[in-house]
């Protein structure tokens, strides 16, 4: 009984906090503590969201397609890199530092260069998303592969297992939990990356919408699109969690046991 109560309290804690923040925010706006043009009220934002709903959905679709393509390529590249670095120490030594360097370059600085090199189409956007997503995936997978118990590898070796068998039976599985943790990050990066990429130009997408409403001094719409982006990220991250649960049944049972 006590446990049940606690579980309910736990479940509503976050929604309650968010609701609290929204109420305070609405009050601040209502009593004009800060002027509307500095901070639109939640009601205004919702209103803006509803009135521009179909337009937002149109742009969101474009952004999602870009994010998905970029993420897909990013994950593939990350996977290939991780496998190569795991299997060949020399590649690891040669490539890893270069990868780290690529991550210290401010995305927003190279974004315009990408357009210059790759044009306006979807290419520079996908490349930008790849740049921000492949790294967490590669690192997550690599660490996952390396987390494979050395003795477990020895055991398989003693059975005469090939490299590929060892990879298949131990490394892949050992890396899944880390992989999904990274994927969760990458998914969120991919959405934000798509938005930034769209600022670079194009015809549609939430990033384009954002720049235009900004120029129209429509802060309520600005907030509406920020929230939409946030919501999309959250939904995608949640999907990753669901996917992880399906792919790692052994973790679930452990969790239940706790």
């Amino acid at each position: 009984m006590k446990k049940k109560l606690q579980s309910i309290t736990n479940k509503i804690a976050a929604p309650m906090t968010i609701a609290g923040i929204l109420v305070i925010w609405e009050l601040i706006s209502c009593f004009h503590v800060v002027p509307t043009y500095m901070l639109p009220s939640p009601v205004q934002v919702i209103h803006a969201f509803i009135s521009d709903f179909s337009l937002l959905m149109f742009h969101a679709k474009v952004t999602l397609v870009e994010a998905f393509l970029g993420l897909l390529c990013g994950v593939l590249i990350g996977f290939v890199l991780a496998v190569m670095m795991d299997q060949f120490e020399f590649i690891y030594k040669a490539v890893y530092p270069v990868l780290v360097i690529t991550q210290t370059v401010p995305t927003v600085a190279i974004a315009p260069l990408l357009v210059l090199w790759l044009g306006y189409g979807i290419a520079p956007k996908v490349v930008l998303i790849v740049i921000v997503t492949f790294f967490p995936v590669a690192i997550g997978l690599l660490e996952g592969f390396r987390s494979a118990d050395r003795d477990a590898v020895h055991l398989l070796q003693s059975m005469g297992a090939t490299r590929i068998q060892i990879f298949k039976h131990i490394k892949i599985k050992s890396s899944l939990s880390q992989f999904f943790a990274s994927l969760r990050i990458a998914v969120s990066y991919s959405v934000v990356g798509a938005v930034i990429a769209e600022w670079l130009g194009g015809f549609s997408g939430l990033g384009v919408y954002m720049t235009r409403v900004k120029k129209s001094y429509a802060f309520d719409k600005m907030f509406a699109v920020i929230f939409l982006i946030s919501a999309i990220s959250l939904v995608l991250m949640y999907s990753v969690d669901v996917l992880r649960k399906c792919c790692t049944p052994w973790e679930n049972r452990r969790a239940i046991r706790k």
Binding site: D149, D151, A152, H154, L155, L156, Q157, S158, M159, G160, A161, Q165, H169, I170, K173, S174, L176, T248, P249, W250, R253, R254, R257
Partner: protein, 249 residues
């Protein structure tokens, strides 16, 4: 006919020698134990025999063929139970078959009948963390058994089992040894266990470790429980303890 022969093995880690001129043999259907102080190099010797490590000098041969540094010739059960947390028990035990190229379904079918014999009924679909320590060790033993090499290396296989289960496993293991063509090299810290199970016992002592004694247990197999409490058992035990203590000084 001698199945396994280890000759003049020397092994260094960096500058520290851990094995010095270790030679031993394991004959067909024999169970031979290695007793010795912790850190004496027993697990290292097993790693060498299984081919996971190369000795700095010396040779390992099986049925007359050199297998030094080659894996896949002997079944090896490592010191930890080492079940894969992400595989069900049946997939864990069937793994050696899959590694040898069998289809997963088929491998499970082959492994199935042994679950009862190993006291693992109804654990097929469970994950290792859902099993008790003893069950895990039995599952690891079943996996080693399913590798079906003629030679098995067991590194403290029963150390996590409680007394009753342990003695049940002892009896079962002696039984299986009678039935199948299996030679076993066995590491343990439990002198009773070594005497009860073994045909011969090697004492691996000193630093670097070397074989200082070979004790032959002449008691006929299968051995009953009364052997454990017999005069000759105590005689063997006293001899081993004296030897180990002597080496320590």
């Amino acid at each position: 006919m001698a199945e396994l022969r280890v000759e003049n093995i020397n092994k260094f880690f960096q500058d520290k020698q851990v094995l010095e001129n270790v030679s031993l043999s394991l004959h067909n259907r024999e169970l031979v134990s290695l007793l010795g102080a912790s850190g004496g190099g027993k697990s290292t010797l097993f790693n060498i025999i299984s081919g996971l490590m190369c000795p700095d000098s010396g040779e390992v041969s099986l049925d007359g063929n050199t297998i030094t540094g080659e894996t896949g010739h002997v079944s090896y059960m490592l010191q930890k139970d080492l079940l894969f947390p992400f595989k069900t028990i049946e997939d864990n035990v069937a793994l050696p078959l899959v590694i040898k190229g069998m289809k997963k379904r088929e491998a499970r079918k082959v492994a199935g009948p042994y679950f009862q014999e190993f006291g693992l009924e109804n654990t097929e679909k469970k994950y290792p963390h859902e099993l008790s320590g003893g069950m895990k060790q039995r599952a690891a033993l079943l996996r080693t058994y399913l590798f079906s090499s003629k030679v098995a290396l067991l590194d403290e296989p029963f150390s996590a089992l409680d007394t009753i289960t342990k003695s049940a496993m002892h009896k079962w293991y002696l039984g299986i040894m009678e039935k199948i063509q299996l030679s076993t090299l066995f590491i343990t810290h439990d002198i009773d266990e070594a005497i009860y199970l073994s045909d011969r016992i090697y004492l691996l002592t000193g630093n670097p470790g070397h074989i200082t004694e070979e004790i032959i247990i002449t008691e006929k197999k299968p051995r009953g429980e009364e052997f454990l409490l017999s005069e000759s058992f105590i005689h063997y035990k006293r001899k081993i303890i004296e030897n180990l203590e002597k080496k320590l000084q």
